[in-house]
């Protein structure tokens, strides 16, 4: 992996890009004086600092190989699920279901990827956990808000564990005829998802006029979506060398990732509004919680995984 020239080039590009952002942020911080703009720039610089950390952790995990990557994503799912459930009301009757979800369901889902058991991986949470948790909850005997409590728990697991696990599940796919290291496709997915988020934010801040849905997310604009989405599709097409796709196919895949990622952020914003919070947590400086960065991954990953599996894997 570390000797793979494509990986080295892509990593170098990401680092150069981040360094460029850091310089821009530094210059902006010195030249901006209006209080509102200062806040925006301070938040921008906090985000950039956090990006260095994210890139470092993610890059190191990919270099260390499959097991470390799976453990990293299991931790990300665990933390996202924790953020989701911390803000979602439950009752004492859900205690055993919650315990099981954190300490059994999360590890098993990632272990199934590790042992290449695709069949159970794809139905474990939607079928067996779906039946087991309400059964456990019912034995606790508390019927108050029973349906809502169980629905929220299952929703949280589907979103933060099942959906997100489809990103590292790319390591399951047999793409050996393309002569590419496994992890490059995961790297590709993460780059396109995050570039799309970042440039939607940048274009939104620079040119955003038309709000998409003021009731759900004040920062999402049509200009941001179009500008960020097109940038991500262009970069995705340019990166087709690290994928089994032709440039045109890569552009199509990137478009799917952009649309999925957009709705991930949009749906999770709607849930945040419903719960009355602005961010999922405060683990990543400037960004909010882990789930504020993983929301788009959760919607984009299953789509990208299944399209790749159906059309390209052997």
């Amino acid at each position: 992996m570390i000797a793979n020239p494509v990986f080295v080039t892509v990593t170098a590009c990401v680092i150069v890009f981040l360094a460029l952002c850091t310089v821009i942020g530094f210059v902006l911080a010195r030249h901006v004086s209006a209080p509102a703009a200062r806040d925006t720039v301070a938040n921008l610089n906090a985000r950039i600092r956090s990006w260095w950390g994210i890139v470092f952790v993610f890059g190191a995990a990919l270099l260390f190989g499959r097991v470390v990557t799976l453990v990293l994503f299991a931790i990300l799912s665990f933390l996202s699920f924790r953020e989701f459930m911390s803000l979602t009301p439950t009752r004492a009757g859900d205690h055993r279901s919650l315990f099981l979800s954190f300490f059994v369901v999360v590890p098993v889902q990632y272990w199934l990827i590790g042992i290449d058991w695709y069949g159970l991986f794809s139905i474990f949470i939607p079928v067996y956990v779906f039946l087991l948790l309400p059964a456990l909850s019912a034995t606790a005997g508390d019927t108050r808000d029973f349906l809502a409590r169980n629905a929220k728990l299952q929703w949280g697991l589907m979103l933060t564990v099942f959906a997100i696990s489809h990103a590292p599940a790319l390591l399951l796919l047999d793409l050996s005829r393309y002569q590419l290291p496994d992890a490059l496709l995961l790297l590709y997915l993460m780059i396109v998802v995050q570039i799309s988020d970042v440039f939607q934010y940048v274009f939104g801040k620079l040119f955003g006029r038309t709000r998409l849905s003021p009731a759900i997310s004040p920062s999402k604009t049509v200009e941001g979506l179009v500008g960020g989405g097109l940038t991500a599709v262009l970069i995705g097409a340019a990166l087709s060398g690290i994928t089994p796709f032709s440039p045109l196919q890569a552009a199509g895949m990137s478009a799917v990732i952009v649309i999925g990622g957009f709705f991930g952020g949009f749906v999770l914003s709607a849930i945040k509004r419903d719960l009355g919070v602005k961010d999922w947590g405060r683990m990543i400086e400037g960004h909010g919680g882990i789930l504020d960065r993983m929301d788009s991954v959760s919607f984009a990953s299953p789509l990208f995984f299944h399209l790749t599996r159906y059309y390209f894997a052997t």
């Binding site: 459930m85 911390s86 954190f102 004040p218």
Partner: protein, 212 residues
Amino acid sequence: MKSILRLGLLGAVRLLVGAHADWQGCAPEPRQRIYYANHSSHFDTLVIVAALPTELRAETHPVAALDYWGASALRRFVAVECLNAVLIDRSGQSSADPLQPPAELLARGHSLILFPEGTRGADGTIGRFRSGLYNLAQRFPQAELVPVYLDNPQRVMPKGSFLMVPLICTARFGAPLTPDPGEDREQFLARARSALMALADPQREPAVPAAA
């Protein structure tokens, strides 16, 4: 060695349940205070100590029940050595004043963390306050009374369960109670309790935040 264990324990608490401090009504200053909090879980003491800044921890003592925290050598070690707790006998069997040990600490200028309900509530509601808070406040009027609402520890480890669920806990510190010499005990305790309950509803963002 002790300080390594203390840092390890509080680090583990933060890793598992966050233990964020939210200073809404006062700042984390080195003044003499009696922090009083709602009690629903054995995690409460850990969360509130982990939420305090390091420099305040040495002179802030949680008041813990002897019958639980003194029941085994390990618990006693965690409570007394790691959390700086002062253990009190709530059984009523001893003839000595159970509040004597914490009162001595206050007399030395230290701060306390108190759970005025005296016992863990079962359903997340705040029970009736016992008179200990009133008695200590009367004897040490210079100590500020700061309500601290603990959000989520009852979901981490509810009464009667040994399973721990890692949900994010927050300690919300409210404004110190203003002294009111005209009040009797019941009025004071009711006012202290409603100040704590007022912190239970978090100051969350409005449903639609202003444009960022």
